[in-house]
Symmetry: C2
Subunit: 145 residues, 2 copies
DNA sequence: CAGATACCCAAGTATTTTAGTCGGAATTGA
DNA sequence: TCAATTCCGACTAAAATACTTGGGTATCTG
């Protein structure tokens, strides 16, 4: 039931962009700060770009930035772009993944799980995460690396 | 984010035992009804036995049965036994999986997800699933295979 | 315009996890 | 005794995950 590194790295990258603010941020610096393999992160940012979550600026002084304000990007947007569905079972999505999905009580359980996950990740924006982070940093300040 | 076949097969097996009721039910018949590879299911039932969810009766006319009434076995019990934790990220469990887990806002999100999943799977018992199944079967009766 | 800085992209590989198999031992009811 | 059945550990196959590589293309700066 884990979220794969794709999803988690992606969330960290978008969070990083939200935290850095404005100017295009080069991939290399995101990778360094978030401790994620650069070449791998590049793939993920491409995917996020195609999903309209980030914009890229090519050339010197280029980099990535959020395509929308943090308020308008949810954790779910990122997870959906990188992981596809977060449903706990195939049968939640397509009725034909299992012969009896139509009349299957287990499916109801899976649907409830899916619904509540979607609920949380859909309603948590990166502004929320940013705010939480600010509160955490106040309590126990982190040294900047 | 999928539940692996271990978890899903396990749920089906326990559901099957709940549905069949009483007598020890041989592995082979569970596997046949639930369309799960027999040798693989055997492993899972061993695990469920060690977790105190099912009892086994050896020898001829033997088989498996629930160790407790369906009301007292939750979907979460089975998932925990077979999959370990259902947490979306390692950091939800151990503080030392990530240097800054203590002051990480992402972790709060993962914890919320975990909590809501635990909430659902912990409160859904096999009696509930059985009841749901009965209701579904009334609406659209299934032929017995 | 040269050169450096970045993104772009597809294909390949390594690692890990999942899913399933096999063979034989031990137990028990008939 | 024998057939049915669980017990158990080790093995293998397949799939998914987590990267790496290598070359291309745009753009800024001097």
């Amino acid at each position: 039931m884990k979220i794969s590194t794709k999803g988690r790295y992606g969330i960290r990258a978008v969070f990083d962009l939200a935290q850095q603010g404005e100017g295009p941020i080069p991939l290399s610096s995101i990778a360094r700060r978030q401790r994620v393999p650069e070449a791998y992160l590049e793939q993920l940012l491409q995917t996020l770009k195609r999903a309209g979550i980030v914009d890229a600026v090519r050339g010197a002084q280029g980099g990535y930035r959020l395509a929308k304000p943090p308020r308008d990007v949810s954790v779910g947007d990122v997870l959906h772009a990188l992981e596809g569905s977060v449903a706990p079972s195939e049968c939640v999505l397509s009725t034909d993944s299992c012969e009896r999905s139509g009349g299957c009580a287990m499916r109801l359980v899976y649907r409830k799980i899916n619904e509540s996950i979607e609920n949380i990740i859909g309603s948590t924006t990166f502004q929320d995460v940013l705010d939480d982070q600010r509160r955490l940093d106040e309590r126990a300040p982190q040294e900047v690396i």
